[in-house]
């Protein structure tokens, strides 16, 4: 596997027998059951599976938005809770979740204004630099409703990166975008990942997207949410549109499709 990141982090995101059950009016729903995996630091891992297989739930467990019912999680040598309080986690949601009354740059700055801001001894990125990094230089003072869906996602990514997080969790961030915009953002996301060296966990239900981005793909199955297989994606970085034309690309994509069809 190619190690493209400029710096690497020690350790992993360790998932040890993670189970999550929800108690609802209609009984207990097992969203995750016996999930054990080790996601390498500074790596790019995708969670792939049909909707309802627990991808979001797993991401929320890693982000300390949800406590697992069983098992444990270790995020680069600390608990999710410590990581959240330490501002080590950046989260990107499917619909950008920008605050509509804030301009792009004000949205990016939000993490500095709440929860104690940047932890001591750490340098925040400059919001303007981040917007430039995601290709939005010149649109700093636009309101979300003045931006396209792709631009809003770029703002959300910039916001997630402001405190220089060690882990970037992305829940179907490009799921609502058209294919052309999605492909372009995929290329930019890889560039950002390589520039920042952050550990990315990326949720998608698109097979080509998972192959294009990832070093490894965690294929999940539903009812209950389990890991079916972890597939290494041995394609060289940097990846671009020519990557999609490689024979290995189609081979990996069809392998993932078969795995998903079995479930």
């Amino acid at each position: 596997m190619t190690a493209p990141a400029t710096m690497t982090e020690p350790g992993t995101i360790g998932l040890r027998d993670v189970g999550v059950s929800f108690h609802t009016d209609r009984g207990v729903v097992t969203a995750l059951d016996g999930v054990t995996a080790s996601l390498p630091a500074s790596g790019f891992t995708s969670l792939l599976g049909p909707s309802g297989c627990g991808k979001s739930t797993l991401l929320r467990v890693i982000a300390d938005l949800l406590d697992p019912s069983t098992g444990g999680v270790d995020v680069l040598g600390a608990t999710p809770h410590q990581r959240r309080l330490g501002r080590d986690i950046g989260f990107v949601f499917q619909d950008a979740a920008l605050l509509p009354w804030r301009t792009a740059v004000e949205n990016v700055r939000l993490p500095l204004e709440v929860g104690g801001g940047v932890p001591q001894g750490r340098q925040a990125n400059s919001p303007e630099d981040l917007l430039a990094l995601v290709g939005l230089a010149g649109r700093e003072h636009a309101y979300p409703h003045e931006l396209s869906g792709g631009m809003r996602q770029r703002v959300a990514i910039a916001r997630a990166l402001i405190c220089q997080p060690r882990v970037l969790l992305m829940d179907e961030p490009f799921g609502a975008l058209d294919e052309i915009t999605r492909d372009r953002l995929n290329v930019e996301l890889l560039r950002i990942w390589q520039e920042t060296g952050t550990t990315v966990v990326f949720v998608t239900h698109s097979i080509p997207e998972a192959v294009f981005l990832s070093q490894q793909v965690v294929v999940m199955s539903a009812h209950p949410g389990r890991i079916r297989e972890i597939v290494d994606i041995d394609l060289p970085y940097p990846r671009g549109s020519e990557t999609r034309d490689l024979p290995q690309f189609s081979a990996l994509a069809s392998r993932l499709r078969h795995l998903l069809e079995q479930s």
């Binding site: 929320r60 986690i89 949601f93 605050l99 009354w101 709440v114 929860g115 309101y143």
Partner: protein, 272 residues
């Protein structure tokens, strides 16, 4: 044809700026409608030769504006005062209560039924009670105007403070934001579109509240003038008073609308 003139004026440097021209063009239909209605009113009065003491013609009403100018103005101010202070008091209490309700569910469970009950009591029934207790001064009118403003704002403000989508709340959770920060950075802003749609309702209904309260017992105000004009068969004055009241209510509404435009600069989803 219109597009050709638009093209021309667009090129000409002395023409009205496009934005203002747009506003002017938007103003044409309502102005035309008003002129049309007044004309219709005039025609009906003239054709059926309706006597002035039943339905005055627009000219009679205009005459009343001229003759009773000072009477109208003198009685407008008390109503303005009652409506505006009632509006302020009712809305401030409603907003404060909404903030308490959102943070403290028990308070909501305890007092929301009371608020609903107050809402169901007809204003015309409360007014005499307040006049008996508080006399003929400003206070019963201000209280009625406040009561009538209160309920829509309370309901909308509670809804607005809760109108924060799940992902925004999760985002703030990821950022370890405190409840206080969630309130000041998110909830307040999320509530503003809801608040303003209630304030616009309250602006017009507070004027109605003040006038109804004046009917019950007062020595001044537009409500008082309406009663006086009715008893003295000053029908043109009655009509003129009605028009003054509507103009005031419309202006009050417009002022709130302008403040809304200045405050809510973002694209707010429809807050019905």
């Amino acid at each position: 044809m219109t597009s050709a003139t638009a093209e021309l004026s667009h090129r000409s440097p002395t023409s009205t700026p496009p934005r203002r021209r747009n506003i002017l063009r938007k103003a044409v239909p309502p102005v035309a409608a008003i002129v049309g209605l007044v004309a219709l009113w005039w025609v009906i009065v003239a054709v059926f030769s309706i006597p002035k003491y039943i339905v005055p013609s627009p000219l009679d009403v205009l005459g009343s504006f001229q003759d009773d100018y000072s009477t109208l103005l003198a009685n407008l101010w008390p109503t303005v005062l009652e409506a505006v202070f009632g509006f302020l008091a009712g809305n401030i209490v409603a907003i404060a209560l909404a903030v308490i309700f959102v943070h403290w569910k028990t308070a909501e469970r305890a007092f929301f039924p009371v608020a609903v009950f107050i809402r169901t009591v007809p204003i015309v029934a409360i007014a005499p009670i307040l006049v008996v207790i508080l006399g003929y001064g400003y206070s019963p009118k201000i209280i009625i105007a406040a009561l009538i403003s209160f309920f829509p704002t309370l309901v909308n403000m509670v809804r607005g403070l809760q109108a924060v989508d799940k992902q925004s709340l999760e985002l703030l959770r990821v950022l370890s934001a405190s409840r206080r920060e969630v309130f000041f950075k998110v909830r307040i802003f999320a509530s503003l579109p809801y608040l303003f749609s209630a304030l616009k309702i309250a602006a017009t209904s507070s004027v109605i509240g003040a006038i109804v309260a004046e009917w019950v017992g007062s020595q001044q105000g537009l409500g008082y003038l309406i009663i006086q004009a009715t008893y003295n068969f000053q029908v043109p004055l009655l009509w003129a008073t009605m028009i003054v009241a509507s103009i005031f209510a419309t202006l009050f509404f417009a002022v709130i609308g302008i403040i809304e435009k200045l405050v809510v600069t973002w694209d707010a989803k429809e807050a019905a």
